[in-house]
Structure formats: structure tokens, C-alpha cells
């Protein structure tokens, strides 16, 4: 396949960025999207130019490191996948592909397509844990039975990879889906109930402080989420928040 790429180039956080045009040729449809970018970078290095910076690591769709807004969509076309799992067979020979960083005030650009998502970590620091020390004396794991349905829902929420696609998809750049996934996971489990009140108040407060927008229930986040995290989690977080606020 031969393709034209329109890619956002930005030297560093303070520089002004712009789209630039590149061409790549003879790309196998079985290659992944990031392998296509590897080929472009090899080409640029051989031409004595600066390669395009982009985040990636596991290339198995689980670490959450890769991002990219491809043709206006976080992680590109295709549902329930990350960019690293996107394959070139989803495109046609001769296509022009637009590649940009995730756009949000709370995710400043570091370089080219790389953004700073440490705001997500800070939301987790505010309450994304259960306060239990490591001792070797915690009670036996089977002493806390958990209803299968709740355990499965907690698992579904816990599969969030923290990639930020929800924020990039949202017109308000809201982090409600991300935050609610962790709030939900713990709210559904007996171990997590003890600190549920504090947790939801603190995490929501930090989310607001980071400059993420509010939720207007458009559901774009759920559609673009590579792990299919459900909007139900936002509803659950809202209920937890309301309960905590009137306590």
C-alpha cells in the first residue's frame, strides 16, 4: 500500500506545532499502524531528518502507552482496540491519513504525538487504592466471598488501561469514564466499601483540579474506549458521589 500521512509535528511543549506531509510506500496490509510509523521513521533517519516521536510500548493493546488521534478518532477506526492493534488492512491503498496527538488541556504535548498524561496518575493518587498494608497476615482470600455478577462487573471496570482515549474523544475533555472505572471497581467490592465515601470525593475533586471538563452524557468515550468501559460506571460514580455528598 502507498499512503500519504499528515502528521502533527511539535518540537517541544513550548513550541508551536503544525501538520506536515509524508509519503510511505509498499506497506503490507498485515503490518500494524505503529509498524507503518516505524517504517516512516526509518525512512526519515536515513534521509537525515528527525523521526516522529510517538508513545508506544507493549504493542499488545494492554499497557495503555500508545495514543494517537487518527483521522479524528482516538486509536483510529475500529472499535475496542488501541492504536497498536490497528492494522493497515483497515485502510485503502492511496489513502491520506491524519495523525495527531490526543487533544486536551490536561494532556499537554511533550513532543510531536507524545502527550503528558500524568494528570491521570494524580487522580489515582487521590484515592485509587484500598488502604491495606502488606503483612502476610491478611485474612484468607476465600474469607471474602464476592457475588460473581459483582466480581465480573468490578473486573470489567478494572480493565481500564488509562490511555486517555475517553478524554480525547470527549468534546469537553472529560475524564469521567477513567475516574469512574476505578471508583466503580472498588465500590462494587466489599473490600472497597470501607473507604468508598472518601475515595469518590477525593478522586472527583482531583479530576476537577486537573482541568478536565464535565460530562454531558454524549457517550463518545464509551464508543472510543479500547476496553469497552461502560457508561454505567459514570452513573455509578454519580450515585456514589451523591451519597457521599449528603453524608
Amino acid at each position: 500500500m502507498n499512503l500519504t500521512l499528515q502528521i502533527w509535528r511539535q518540537k517541544n511543549a513550548d513550541a508551536k506545532g503544525a501538520m506536515e506531509t509524508y509519503k510511505v510506500e509498499n506497506i503490507s496490509p498485515d503490518s500494524s499502524f505503529l509498524e507503518m510509523l516505524d517504517i516512516l521513521n526509518d525512512q526519515l533517519i536515513n534521509e537525515g531528518k528527525e523521526p516522529v516521536a510517538f508513545d508506544h510500548d507493549c504493542r499488545e493493546g494492554i499497557c495503555g502507552m500508545c495514543s494517537l488521534q487518527i483521522n479524528g478518532e482516538p486509536h483510529g477506526p475500529g472499535r475496542a482496540i488501541t492504536t497498536c492493534q490497528l492494522h493497515m488492512r483497515k485502510f485503502k491503498d492511496g489513502d491520506t491519513i491524519y495523525i495527531e496527538p490526543f487533544r486536551a488541556k490536561a494532556f499537554p504535548v511533550i513532543k510531536d504525538l507524545v502527550v503528558d498524561r500524568s494528570a491521570f496518575d494524580r487522580i489515582q493518587h487521590a484515592g485509587g487504592y484500598i488502604s491495606v498494608n502488606t503483612s502476610g497476615n491478611t485474612q484468607d482470600a476465600n474469607a471474602i466471598p464476592v457475588e460473581k455478577e459483582k466480581a465480573d462487573k468490578a473486573f470489567d471496570a478494572a480493565t481500564c488501561i488509562g490511555c486517555g482515549a475517553c478524554v480525547a474523544a470527549c468534546k469537553n475533555a472529560s475524564a469521567m469514564l477513567f475516574t469512574s472505572a476505578k471508583v466503580s471497581q472498588f465500590a462494587l467490592l466489599p473490600q472497597g466499601r470501607i473507604e468508598a465515601t472518601e475515595r469518590v470525593l477525593n478522586m472527583v475533586k482531583q479530576m476537577d483540579l486537573e482541568g478536565f471538563g464535565n460530562c454531558t452524557n454524549t457517550g463518545a468515550c464509551e464508543i472510543e474506549c479500547p476496553k469497552g468501559i461502560s457508561l454505567e460506571n459514570i452513573a455509578r460514580m454519580n450515585r456514589e458521589y451523591l451519597k457521599a455528598s449528603v453524608k
Binding site: N41, D42, R59, S118, T134, T138
Partner: protein, 669 residues
């Protein structure tokens, strides 16, 4: 030469760890506040160690090259974590887990370490559940288990095909609690580029801030390396793109011995290579072998027709299929250990029965049709469907399989464009894990005082082959339950030391060493990209130091790697400048280290004139083609001391003593 001292405590095997804990020195809480510990890497081992040491009161500085500790490659572990809980009542025990691990490792690991691992395994599950890790549960609300290769019990706990993710997020949450309290200072997007020794003790590191390119000095009273394995020396592996050996290799060059580099795990079930544009390989979890059956066509002409696309696997009759694992190993069948399964696949493909249409024809089928039918019939019975149609059975069966392995099937379909519910998966072995690593004693301390190595970065528990679902167990055992005790015994001497200054000649020298090397890479202005060399190294490693090795190939590899390394330093081109976000510079430093490690790896493989576990020497096999160990001459750990060049490394030996198990030829027949 005297055997290296493992510092294994005296006493009966089952009492060693308890006695040890009762007799070590402790540091009182007020003094812990005066002690700093650096941890490099935030996967299961590093993350759990950071959280636990901070809970105890130490000041922890944790480093990772990713943008968040949550991204460490432990996250990609799929299948599960072993623990001797015996919840299934199927005869499991601490001793059996210990025995299976020793046997699975082909009698090349240290008894006392493995027993301790089995002993603390149950605590890990308790700890993780308390943290809110959502393990799979049954309808009674209790934890579910499944079975993995090389064992006859179900002791594997899991969270669908995302167990590593859930365990890592558990450790990450424990870290977050300590970060919020200020007990852990987190350095994201930082890479350790050297360790600093003061009076022979590890007292700090030199790290590069990957965003600004700034070179930073960080001091501490002890340094813990938890940076994972070196599988990326093969270029193509299931490791993350950034997984690297730099931290481990730098400490090796400063005096930490490197043990058994040739012990590499080639995982039997990965998605085969599609072409030369490929950047990495994807694992399909071992858990799939609970329900998948591995086969190739019985007839050469069928294999050829499959490769040419003229024959579909589903059109090959049952009697024309060779379920070679079930044929060769009837008692363990498809659940033989990884090394055995990988070699068996290679044997069939070398004989011409491979089913993939690429240059090497290397691929076999992993087929779920029997399982889908079996589960479908079972479900029809449960749901009271009488005389179900074939379609109904398949539909019900596919639903069961989807609930167990759904995410893996989806991932397979994304990558290959094939539907594994309807047609068998195509798989082939790929580099996955490295059992070798930094040599550590029973305390997990390296040969440098105050310098520790935990998780995949050390060599300690898996011998020559790791059993499935044991990597997660070892990482968390080291970090949650072992290191926090052993490091205290060492730090008890440091309660009056006070903060370690960084404005000393030792830090000056280490920093200069790092900046000189970076300048050399940037100013080299050669003609080839870093990947060019990395791919070449990978080719040499896979072809001559891969699944089957021989003396001639290994000797050639040693020369070729040395030559490639020389060429690298002459001809590599690293664009950009040092003091900026520069991913090519990051890669260049890592590949430079792989180019040294690869040579030591091949030397170690050449030195070990036997076949054991993942190390298979073609000269040493039985008439049936199985690995032939030489216990008389090779029951030792090979620990290499760096002296300036990989070719001049000095071999030290730690003799392995087996007081509690009898050394046997490993049989899964």
C-alpha cells in the same frame, strides 16, 4: 575454584525462611525514616517492593522509563498466577508447588529459594484480594482456578486473560497510596544509565530524564534493580518495545555477576511472524492449552496444500491430523512445559509439516473445535435442550469459550484477520522470558553490597525453564514478601549513615561516563539506524542461539556479535541532540548493551555442554530427541564476572545441592 556462597540459611528446608526471619536484624520505625532506597522498574517486583518498603517507613525513590508505573510490561501477562492454596482439594501443597517448580526448571535452581517462593505464594493471593484485585470467581463467590503446563493440579488464579494487568494495577494502587503520602517519590520517564558505588557499596544511580534529556544524580542507602528480562536481545519477542537490559547490564559492568544468560524461555504459543516489517510478537496465553489441541497435518502433501492455501485445516479429517503433543506425551498431553512444547513444534516444522506460508513455514495449529463441541454439549444438557442441532451446540460452546478466552480470541482476530472460533489458530514459539539474570544470594543481594535484583531481572527461582503462571508469583513474592525482610538486615548498618551526598568524586565519575557515551552516540553520524543493528543482532540470536544450539553455531555467533558491535559503534546514526526528548537515543543505548549481552549469552550457551530446560544443545539429546542433562558436570549456576569485555568474562560457579528432591530425567510422557 570455591563455590559462590548463596548464604542459604541452615536447617530443614521447610524451616529455613521462618528461622531466617526470626534471626535477622530489624530497623526501628524512627530509623527507617532516615533511610533511602532506590528502586529501578515498577513492574510486579519493583512496584510491590516500592509499596511495601514505603509502608514500612523507608523513603523510596522509584524509577520507570514509561510515562506511568502502571505501564510496566508485567501488565501484559495473561494467563495467571500460581499459589499453593489447594482450594480445589486436588492434592496441592507447598511441597508440590516447590517440587513442580524444581522439576519444571530441570533441576537447575536453588532449592531454598524455590521453597520460600512456594511458601509465600498463598500470601500473595490473600494480599491481592485485600487490595481489590478482581480475580475470577465461581457462582458461590469463591475464587476460581485453572491448570497450567507441567503440573497435575489446578493452582492458577486468574482474571480472564488479563491477570498481569490486574495484579500490576493492584501493586500500582498500593504505590499510589504511598505516593500520596510522600513516602514514594516517583520518577516517570526516567532511565537509569549507571549505578554509583561508594566504598564498594551501591549508593546511588545516574538517570536520564527522558523528557528533558537532563542527566540526574540520585543517592540512596541501597539500590534495587527490578527492570525485567533481556528477551529483546532477540529483537523479535513478546516483550514490550522498551523492555531492555540496560540497568541489569550496567550493574554487571560495575561488579554484579550475571547468571545463566543462556536460559531463555521460548514460549510455544505465539502468533507467527508475518513478514520483515514486523516489530514484535504477540503471545497467546498458555491457558489456551487447557482447551486447545495442538496439531499439524500427518501427510506432507496436506501441509504443503495448507501452506499454499489450497486446503483448509477444517477440511483435514481427524485421522489425518497429528496431535503430536498428545502422541508423544500422553500423560501431560497439550499441557507439557513450555520448553518441551516449543521444541516439539520445531521438530515437526523442521520435518516439513509446518503450516505457515512464510520463508520458514514455521507454524502449527491450536484448535478449539473439540472444546467448543464438548462445552456446547455440556451447556445444552445444563439448559435442558434436548437433541440440540449442531449449530446450537457450536453456538453454546463458542459462548463458553468466549467467556474464558474472549479477549485473547479478539486480539488474535485483530492481528491475523482470522476467526479462531471457526478455524484453528496458527501459532509458533517465540522468545518470551529470560530465566537467567543477575546472580543473587538468598537475600536477593547481588555480588555488590547494597545492590539487589528482584523479579525477572534476577536468576533465582526458575532454573533452566519457568513454569507458566510462575513469573507473576515470583515478582510479587520478591517484592511483597522477601525483599522487605532481607533488605532490612542489610540496612540495619545504615541507621547512622545519614543522607548520601551526590557531590562526590564517585558521582562525578559515573556521570561523566554516562555523558561521554551519549555524546559518542549522538556525534557518531553513521549511516544506519539503531533498528538496523538490532534486527541483525536478533537474526544471529534466533538462528544460532535460539531454540536449538550447537557448538559451531555458537562459536560463529560469538564472532558475528562482536563484529556487529564494532560496526555499530562505527556506523550507527542517532539523530537529534542529547538534551531533548529523543527516542532514538534511548534505543541506541539499549541496543549497545544488548550487543554486549548477546555475546556473553552465546558464550554461556557454548560453555554449558548439556541440554537442560530452555537450553537445548543438539549434541546432547537422547535417542528420542529429548534433552539430555549432565548432572555430574553441570549441576551449577554459571555466574559471570565482567572484566572489560564479554569475551574475557570470568566464570564463577555456584554448586547446586539437592537435599530434598532426587535428580531425575524429566519425563512428561
Amino acid at each position: 575454584m570455591a563455590s559462590l556462597d548463596s548464604k542459604t540459611p541452615q536447617g530443614a528446608l521447610a524451616d529455613k525462611w521462618t528461622n531466617y526471619k526470626n534471626n535477622i536484624r530489624l530497623v526501628n520505625p524512627a530509623n527507617k525514616r532516615k533511610i533511602d532506597v532506590i528502586i529501578v522498574g515498577t513492574g510486579l517486583a519493583g512496584g510491590s517492593a516500592a509499596a511495601t518498603l514505603a509502608e514500612l517507613g523507608y523513603n523510596v525513590k522509584a524509577f520507570c522509563y514509561q510515562d506511568s508505573p502502571r505501564r510496566a510490561h508485567s501488565i501484559a501477562a495473561q494467563g495467571g498466577i500460581n499459589a499453593a492454596k489447594n482450594y480445589q482439594g486436588d492434592g496441592d501443597s507447598v511441597y508440590r508447588l516447590f517440587y513442580d517448580t524444581i522439576k519444571g526448571g530441570d533441576y537447575r535452581s536453588r532449592e531454598a529459594n524455590v521453597y520460600r517462593l512456594a511458601e509465600v505464594s498463598a500470601n500473595i493471593i490473600d494480599q491481592c484480594v485485600a487490595q481489590g484485585v478482581p480475580f475470577a470467581r465461581d457462582y458461590g463467590g469463591l475464587l476460581d482456578n485453572r491448570s497450567f503446563g507441567g503440573v497435575l493440579v489446578s493452582r492458577t488464579f486468574y482474571a480472564k486473560g488479563q491477570t498481569g494487568q490486574q495484579l500490576l494495577l493492584g501493586a500500582y494502587s498500593a504505590m499510589n497510596r504511598q505516593i500520596a503520602k510522600g513516602k514514594i517519590t516517583m520518577y516517570n520517564r526516567h532511565e537509569m544509565l549507571d549505578v554509583v558505588l561508594v566504598n564498594g557499596k551501591a549508593r546511588g544511580i545516574i538517570a536520564r530524564n527522558l523528557i528533558t534529556g537532563e542527566i540526574e544524580r540520585h543517592s540512596a542507602h541501597a539500590v534495587v534493580i527490578a527492570s525485567g528480562g533481556y528477551g529483546n536481545v532477540f529483537f523479535l519477542s513478546t516483550n514490550a518495545m522498551g523492555s531492555n537490559a540496560t540497568a541489569a547490564w550496567k550493574i554487571h559492568k560495575r561488579g554484579a555477576y550475571f547468571a545463566n544468560p543462556c536460559y531463555t524461555q521460548i514460549h510455544p504459543t505465539c502468533i507467527p511472524v508475518h513478514g520483515d516489517q514486523q516489530s514484535k510478537l504477540t503471545l497467546m496465553s498458555e491457558s489456551l492449552r487447557n482447551d486447545g489441541r495442538i496439531w499439524v497435518p500427518k501427510k506432507l502433501e496436506d501441509a504443503k496444500a495448507v501452506r499454499e492455501g489450497k486446503l483448509k485445516p477444517t477440511d483435514i479429517a481427524e485421522e489425518d491430523r497429528d496431535y503430536y503433543l498428545e502422541r508423544r506425551y500422553p500423560s501431560f498431553g497439550n499441557l507439557v512445559p513450555r520448553d518441551v512444547a516449543s521444541r516439539a513444534a520445531k521438530e515437526r516444522c523442521d520435518a516439513g509439516f509446518g503450516i505457515i506460508n512464510n520463508s520458514t513455514n514455521e507454524g502449527v495449529f491450536l484448535d478449539f473445535s473439540s472444546a467448543i463441541e464438548r462445552y456446547g454439549k455440556e451447556q445444552a444438557h445444563i439448559q435442558g435442550v434436548h437433541n440440540p442441532s449442531r449449530e446450537k451446540i457450536l453456538q453454546l460452546g463458542e459462548e463458553v469459550v468466549a467467556s474464558k478466552y474472549g479477549n485473547l480470541f479478539d486480539m488474535y482476530q485483530q492481528i491475523t484477520d482470522d476467526n479462531p472460533y471457526k478455524t484453528p489458530m496458527k501459532i509458533y514459539p517465540a522468545v518470551h522470558y529470560t530465566m537467567g539474570g543477575i546472580w543473587v544470594d538468598y537475600n536477593l543481594m547481588t555480588t555488590v553490597p547494597g545492590l539487589y535484583a528482584i523479579g525477572e531481572a534476577n536468576f533465582s527461582d526458575h532454573g533452566a525453564n519457568r513454569l507458566g503462571a510462575s513469573a507473576l508469583m515470583q515478582g510479587l513474592a520478591d517484592g511483597y514478601f522477601v525483599l522487605p525482610y532481607t533488605i532490612g538486615d542489610y540496612l540495619a548498618d545504615d541507621i547512622r549513615t545519614g543522607p548520601i551526598p551526590t557531590n562526590t568524586p564517585e558521582f562525578d565519575a559515573a556521570e561523566k561516563h554516562v555523558t561521554d557515551r551519549i555524546s559518542q552516540l549522538i556525534n557518531n553520524n553513521g549511516k544506519h539506524s539503531v533498528d538496523y543493528f538490532h534486527k541483525k543482532l536478533g537474526h544471529i540470536m534466533w538462528n544460532k542461539v535460539g531454540m536449538a544450539r550447537n557448538a559451531q553455531g555458537l562459536s560463529e555467533a560469538i564472532h558475528e556479535i562482536a563484529e556487529l558491535r564494532e560496526q555499530f559503534w562505527k556506523e550507527v546514526r542517532v539523530p537529534g541532540v542529547p538534551n531533548e526528548f529523543n527516542q532514538e537515543l534511548e534505543k541506541a543505548g539499549r541496543v549497545a548493551d544488548f550487543l554486549e549481552l548477546g555475546e556473553l549469552f552465546a558464550r554461556d550457551a557454548l560453555e554449558r555442554n548439556e541440554s537442560c530446560g530452555g537450553h537445548f544443545r543438539e549434541e546432547y539429546r537422547t535417542e528420542e530427541g529429548e534433552a539430555r542433562r549432565d548432572d555430574e558436570h553441570f549441576t551449577y549456576v554459571a555466574a559471570w564476572e565482567y572484566t572489560g569485555k564479554p569475551s574475557e568474562a570470568i566464570l564463577h560457579k555456584e554448586d547446586l545441592k539437592f537435599d530434598n528432591v532426587e535428580l531425575k530425567t524429566r519425563s512428561y510422557k
